[in-house]
């Protein structure tokens, strides 16, 4: 055993930092590698399970069948995805408009909040599946009915988050606005709205996913009469026909849409907040 050589000069990066840096590099790779690996393993397992046990394709189609169907049925699936996407996006836009409008109304007028907030909650807690058939009866235009259905599900997180956000301004800043004689509009525009932005964006993230769920439920319940042949209707129809390859292809596309919506909302949130808000900051050290 040799005695450790005396250090000629202290290294700029010590062992602990080096270990941390190595760990960080590893994590960076693992963040992509591990989920990809899980995906590959799962697909392989699925494939071998189906081939080895000779599972009939009307019970569980193998990944090759699903992939084949995805390509074959693309002319059906793509327009269906556009229809579902349009419904989801419209519902989300309406949810943003409605949710923000009501939130502003509620924070500007105590009376409006006291009168209507309980009903907003009731609308939210009633399962949309239970309301959808009624909408189909009372709303003549089936597309409007489906839109309403998706809207009801999506708007509440926007409403409740934005309402909390609008009430969460710094009290000292409120005082400052009072001292400088700010009017109601200036208070809303320059203080309450920016304070509410992070809360609103949090609500938007949830609402994006919920709008898709609402759209799928609407397609299931109200059916193709109003919405045309969306992804969820395609999926339902494929299940009636035991066309499980197409069913799985449609299912994959629906969850892909969910992922894209979530990513888009996260991007919007990042772009809006990264310059100033704590939630979007990277901590050093």
């Amino acid at each position: 055993m040799s005695i450790a050589e005396p250090a000629t000069s202290a290294p700029l990066i010590d062992a602990e930092e080096e270990a941390r840096a190595r760990n960080e590099r590893l994590m960076k790779i693992a963040r992509w590698m591990l989920p990809s690996l899980v995906l590959v393993v799962a697909i392989l397992a699925w494939h071998f399970y189906v081939t080895i046990w000779e599972v009939p394709h009307y019970i569980l189609p193998g990944p090759t069948v699903v992939a084949q169907k995805m390509v074959e049925d693309w002319p059906i699936l793509w327009p269906a995805m556009l229809i579902t996407g349009r419904l989801t996006l419209l519902a989300l836009i309406m949810a943003v408009c409605g949710g923000v409008f009501l939130a502003v109304l509620f924070t500007q007028s105590k009376w409006a909040e006291l009168s209507f907030f309980p009903y907003a909650v009731i609308l939210q807690v009633t399962p949309v599946v239970a309301i959808a058939p009624l909408l189909q009866i009372y709303v003549e235009n089936a597309f409007v009915a489906a839109l309403l259905c998706a809207w009801i599900v999506a708007f509440f997180p926007i409403l409740s988050n934005t309402t909390i956000g609008l009430k969460s301004s710094d009290h000292n800043l409120e005082d400052l606005f009072t001292i400088y004689g700010a009017n109601r509009w200036q208070r809303l525009r320059y203080l309450a709205a920016p304070s509410a932005l992070p809360f609103f964006l949090g609500g938007l993230k949830i609402a994006g996913g919920l709008a898709l769920i609402g759209a799928v439920v609407a397609e299931f319940v109200i059916g193709r009469a109003g919405t045309g042949l969306g992804l969820a209707s395609t999926l339902l129809e494929a299940s009636y026909r035991f066309n499980f390859g197409r069913l799985y292809a449609a299912l994959i596309l629906i969850s892909l849409m969910g992922v894209v919506i979530f990513a888009a909302m996260s991007l919007i949130s990042y772009l809006a907040l990264h310059k100033w808000h704590e939630s979007a900051l990277k901590r050093e050290g």
């Binding site: 000292n172 005082d175 009072t178 004689g181 203080l191 932005l197 900051l281």
Partner: protein, 261 residues
């Protein structure tokens, strides 16, 4: 460009608080019969233990609450922009850049940024932050945020600046630096200040009048004059004169605490 300030006793009155009472919930007496005349050019410290009503007094002057009884009168009436306020926290809008934060008092009066850009930059220059006009508050240190807050308070060239323990949350060294800078600022623009603090040393170093207050009920028990001349330098902190004034203020504060107990 030092300004000339009349000696104590010859300054014209700026604001008069007479027989101010403030009670909360009908039983807690936050302020009892407070009388105070603020003169042009005064640097007044309200010194006292917690609960003595010093912050309440400040909020009353700021118009954030109304006195239960008594009157607050401004000489010549109070106009918009006559008042600047600095809170204990920097109280900046985190979503707005430094210059936008300083612009706020003007913006709320409907003035566009280009109209008042020179004033905003001048205020930032006075607190030594003209290079940081495009920074966001989170990029600044605690002391720098406080400077932005001060720049915002004086951007409208107010007749009176209220400061509510502005440096209490800062470390001692930053606090002393900001005390020096505040005095330098006062020498160059000649503002009138009411400064709330619970630090004897801060009050002696900064002010020419110290109003000592006691709690339960909140009231004024003593008024001291610190007749040391301005500008006060770092040497003043270690002078006998400073020590003598600090002793007097400390004794008054002790009395205030004893009376409350």
């Amino acid at each position: 460009m030092a300004i000339t300030r009349k000696p104590l006793g010859e300054r014209p009155a700026l604001l008069q608080m007479s027989h101010i009472e403030k009670t909360f919930g009908g039983e807690v007496v936050a302020l009892k019969d407070m009388n105070l005349t603020v003169n042009e050019g005064d640097f007044i410290s309200l010194l006292g233990p917690s609960g003595c009503g010093k912050s309440t007094a400040l909020r009353l002057v700021a118009g954030l609450m109304r006195p239960t009884a008594g009157r607050i009168e401004w000489t010549g009436g109070q106009g918009l922009g006559d008042l600047g306020v600095v809170f204990q926290e920097p109280t900046l809008m985190p979503w707005a850049r430094v210059a936008e934060n300083v612009w706020l008092p003007f913006r709320l009066r409907g003035k566009s940024y280009s109209e008042v850009k020179d004033d905003v930059l001048e205020a930032l220059r006075l607190v030594g932050l003209e290079k940081f006009q495009r920074a966001f508050p989170r990029e600044l240190s605690g002391g720098m945020k406080m400077r932005v807050s001060i720049a915002r308070a004086l951007v409208t060239k107010p007749r009176l600046i209220l400061m509510d323990e502005p440096f209490a949350a800062l470390d001692e060294i930053t606090r002393q630096k900001l005390n020096n800078d505040l005095l330098a600022l006062r020498e160059s623009i000649g503002c009138t200040v009411i400064f709330v603090t619970h630090s004897v040393f801060e009050s002696v170093f900064l002010s020419d009048r110290i109003v000592v207050m006691a709690a339960r009920p909140g009231r004024v028990i003593r008024e001291l004059e610190v007749d040391a001349p301005y500008p006060r330098s770092e040497a003043f902190r270690t002078s006998n004169e400073y020590a003598a004034h600090a002793r007097k203020a400390q004794e008054a504060l002790h009395q205030a605490i004893a009376e409350a107990a």
